[in-house]
Symmetry: C2
Subunit: 239 residues, 2 copies
């Protein structure tokens, strides 16, 4: 293949990366806005979240179309194909992050006028900041093709899972103390779960970058620490 | 292209479909088992769910590898590429269904020994049956390339969303009546949300089949009726 064609192909791959970075930037801002709505109770930001999420969806479709055109035109061999497919997977994870962040903003908007103790927000805010950092770091790692940095994000996700476990327990306790908190705390539970899942998508991106550079998925299985599926608090056993 | 090559290509595409059907069959059984655990409180089925989910994940990876090999070897034009990419998307939706069903089984296993009124399960069982039916019907539609049948599933999802809204309210009320129900009902809330999301994946599959056959996504936007992100029950406004 002549140098001109190779350069042009590289340019197309790099343009694909740019679109992914643009998507990722939007998803970061959307998540950051969602955390802001939760924290400052400013429902105005919630209304812009849906629009940002649509922009993310449009970008994903553009990336898919461009990838298909590239494959059809360039007819790349298996290795380059894997590269393009990996980029598509990363775009799909970012799209899910956008959905989850939009949902957090929506829930946060719904409870913006409810009063609840600031301390209750500490854990959630901490979770949000952690997820946002993971998302930023994994995207920087992808832009630099830095597998080690990506693996650091991958390992860090256990911390987010632990935070989620403790927020989950805290919210349940708060609901038990006063039934008037139940409706509000249910939204916070789902918001916390969404943040935890955003962390999972960041680790998916890290895994896909690992696969892209090293040709294999990182192993052994990352230790998952979200134990909330089997947590039961304060319910005495009845027959 | 000579007939022999065309036949062989069709055979490969059809083998890809067979793998997707195998994946889908596993996901259906996993969901059906998960509903069974919820309904009959038999925790034994919960333990097999994780294994089924792993088998689904392995199949998805096989489908991805086979698709990449096919594209590299056959170098299909844009239309055929879109076909293969659509199959990959459908496989990815089925993989998510497997994850969600596994999580339902896990939660159901955790609460299997808790006592709660049978009536509380009516809504959830109904939701589960509805989601299972959607999943079956959309897969049959895919196997027969029947866009109309797929669109019926697509339209039906609003019913599942409505069921979810009512289950959500019912569970919140039950939590408010007796704080001892909170922990248990939280798991049921997440299980209900997972079932609702399985319905969303069935509609994604329907949309992708529509795209595959008609070349465009169905529009206008499907009316989404999951209003629970903004439901607030029984909490009097405080300053």
């Amino acid at each position: 293949m002549c140098a001109h064609i190779v350069r042009s192909y590289d340019a197309e791959l790099s343009a694909l990366d740019d679109l992914v970075a643009e998507m990722g930037g939007l998803a970061e801002r959307l998540l950051s806005d969602a955390i802001e709505v939760l924290d400052r109770r400013d429902p105005r930001l919630a209304t812009t979240a849906a629009a940002s999420d649509s922009a993310i969806d449009v970008l994903e479709r553009q990336i898919q179309e461009r990838a298909i055109t590239m494959i059809a035109k360039r007819q790349p061999m298996a290795d380059d194909l894997r590269h393009i497919m990996t980029v598509l997977k990363i775009a799909s994870d970012i799209e899910r992050v956008g959905d989850l962040a939009k949902n957090i903003a929506k829930r946060a908007g719904a409870i913006a006028e409810e009063s609840f103790p600031r301390t209750l927000m500490n854990g959630l805010r901490h979770m949000g900041q952690e997820a946002l950092l993971q998302l930023k770091e994994v995207q920087d790692a992808f832009a630099r093709r830095d597998v080690e940095a990506a693996m650091q994000v991958w390992r860090k996700d256990a911390r987010l899972d632990e935070l989620y476990n403790s927020v989950f327990r805290e919210l349940l306790t708060y609901m038990m103390e006063d039934p008037r908190n139940i409706s509000l705390c249910t939204h916070l539970l789902f918001a916390a779960k969404n943040i935890e899942r955003i962390g999972d998508h960041a680790t998916n991106i890290a895994e896909n970058l690992h696969y892209l550079i090293r040709g294999v998925l990182p192993g052994p299985e990352r230790p998952k620490s979200d134990d909330t599926s089997s947590i039961l608090i304060g319910r005495p056993k009845t027959e």
